[in-house]
């Protein structure tokens, strides 16, 4: 029965890996498309509150963020651990908010301007004082559509 006769030593068949790069490339493209690079370096720490009545933020390009929280460790020595406001890449005061909103509004297309949203990413343990000041400035800047960023409970 020569059919079953082994020809010398049996070798493990080599695994064909020629399609592996294609496979990896398709995963790569998937991640390239869904990815959104972090735009700002966070200088404050915040843990958003959790709620049940939340809605999704539909168009990210319309949203400008205001971060409110404790400065991160490296800045704490200089600034203390009181809650601070961060706009774009740097710490800011309440008085800077109006300018920030105007700049952000200018960067939007004309028809998108009324749809602008401000997302307040506030830390749970912040006192309302600073948040209210921010809200007051937003009202004065006519940025009335506000989102309190939160986690789904």
């Amino acid at each position: 029965m020569s059919k079953f006769q082994k020809k010398g030593k049996a070798e493990m068949p080599e695994l064909n890996t020629s399609s592996l790069p294609d496979l990896i490339f398709s995963i790569l493209f998937f991640f390239m498309i869904v990815t959104s690079m972090r735009e700002v370096e966070l200088k404050v720490e915040f843990k958003t509150p959790s709620g049940t009545e939340l809605e999704k933020l539909e168009r990210k390009s319309l949203v400008s963020n205001i971060y409110i929280g404790r400065p991160t460790r490296e800045y704490r020595a200089k600034l203390g651990s009181q809650s601070r406001i961060q706009l774009n890449d740097k710490f800011a005061e309440v008085a800077n908010i109006r300018e920030y909103v105007q700049d952000e509004r200018e960067s939007l297309a004309e028809r998108d301007k009324p749809l602008m949203k401000i997302s307040i990413k506030g830390d749970k343990d912040t006192a309302m004082g600073i948040i209210t000041d921010v809200k007051m400035e937003l009202r004065k800047a006519w940025a009335l559509s506000v989102v309190y960023s939160a986690a789904q409970r």
Partner: protein, 200 residues
Amino acid sequence: MAKGNRKVPGINASSTADISFILLIFFLVTTSMDTDRGLHVRLPNPPDETQQDPPKIRKRNSLIVNVNMNNQILVTQGDKEPVEVVLSELRAIAKEFIANPEDRVDYPEKHAVELPAPFGVQMITDKHVISLQTDRATNYDTYFQVENELYGAYNELRDELARKTFGHPFAECNEDQQLACRLYYKCMISEAEPRTYNQH
């Protein structure tokens, strides 16, 4: 001298997998897939200095929710005595106040208002106002939870209405139906400027 066709040496492509792996890992690390969620609120127009006195609100139409510096919640409805409540009770209180299902005289008055189809003219409490007052020292988390409960009250009422009228939950309604429900229970939360109580 070449014998017949010369063969072009094949490019060794075995490392493309490694290269793309590195790129893949880079994107894996930098990607953030979390979708942003939040509580959408509409702030009132900027305060108008020329306006002397704010519009009068009848006592029965107002529900004042007060959160103090110790994060205790005090609810004052109309002429009644203020009551301290816990967060979990707030939603039911707000729902009762907004809808006024039994048409009580100490709860918000109802007016006939023209609403989009299929409602037509309905008696709704269109003049009610929920006023949320906080202290500068109130915790943001507490404020957020209170706000969440108040919006929750509206959402629950709209959901009940949608189930009764259209036979399915609010989330499954089309845009016109959602708008109609929204107008039936119109959100009237006013956020007053905070006061500083018992400051030492």
